[in-house]
């Protein structure tokens, strides 16, 4: 699971209001290089929930992202960090935790299991 995906995932248990972001408990993280695409990254900057990305990256051991995203000009050094956090950090084993209910969604071999039990729907 990469942070671009984590940024969209929510806890859809019945009654939960604060559905996202999910807190990451990382047990195994691997890094996989991906081609750098600055146009795509600039386009994504407007759509990403920044705090969720920063917190998610920290949980996976990457602390280089600035607390606030830059305003108008996003220079290459910044984009490289953004690229690395968004697309190159892979959570292989761990959990995604709902901040409100505490429910843990396991991540195994990189695949989060978001299936709810009957009572939770």
């Amino acid at each position: 699971m990469r942070l671009i995906m984590h940024n969209m995932l929510t806890c859809n248990i019945k009654g939960v209001i604060n559905k996202s972001p999910l807190r990451i408990e990382a047990e195994k993280v691997i890094k996989k290089e991906v081609d750098f695409n600055p146009d795509f990254l600039r386009h994504m900057l407007a759509k990403i929930e920044w705090k969720a990305l920063v917190d998610g990256a920290r949980s996976m051991g990457y602390t280089e992202l600035p607390v606030h995203a830059p305003g108008i000009e996003s220079d290459e050094p910044f984009l490289r960090k953004f690229h690395h956090a968004l697309l190159e950090l892979n959570l292989e084993e761990g959990s995604l935790v709902c901040q409100e209910s505490g429910r843990k969604f396991p991540v195994n071999k990189g695949v989060p299991n978001m299936l709810l039990h009957e009572k939770e729907v």
Binding site: I4, M8, T10, N12, M114, L115
Partner: protein, 208 residues
Amino acid sequence: MKLKQLEGLLGDLQQFSNPKVELEQYPTGPHIASRMLFTAENSYGDITDKVVADFGCGCGTLSAAASLLDAACVIGFDIDPQSLETATLNAEELEVEIDFVQCDVTKLELEGQIVDTVVMNPPFGTRKKGADMEFLSAAMKVASQAVYSLHKTSTREHIKRAALRDFNAKSAEVICELRYDLPKLYKFHKRKEVDIAVDLWRFEPRQN
């Protein structure tokens, strides 16, 4: 990448080893998959450099096609862990990056507008009535630019009406009609193979 080359690569993918009839697990053949994604990119620019979600990805054929056509990010969603394992192996074989999520697509809620395009070969609703509409509804909530989906030609009017009236579609067009060759996969299939008329649809959601 040329269409023939894409079709060839998709033909090498592993498919369902033990397909589950209640999930309507049928492989999306390389002929349909390649044409679907090739059209989405060449006629509409909906794949290259975009974030693409594959709903009900199964063994990941459509996801693989999106990756091979240089989507910036591809995410496959499916309820079945065995299919997701096969999909993961397929991605490794092709040396493409695809993220997978195990979930019930019909109950999925995604935050934000990150996904540009949803591609899917959803269940037709022959086992679980209305499954095709549930998948379409879910896709229209997630895609910010376009949804590509296959539905039986016999449901054409029904789909168009539902998409425009209930699922927030700005437009709903049948791009082409295809023949879906289904080999005898399940014991209850009497004929050696059947082919079903399916429509390839393109839906555009209204901007939220």
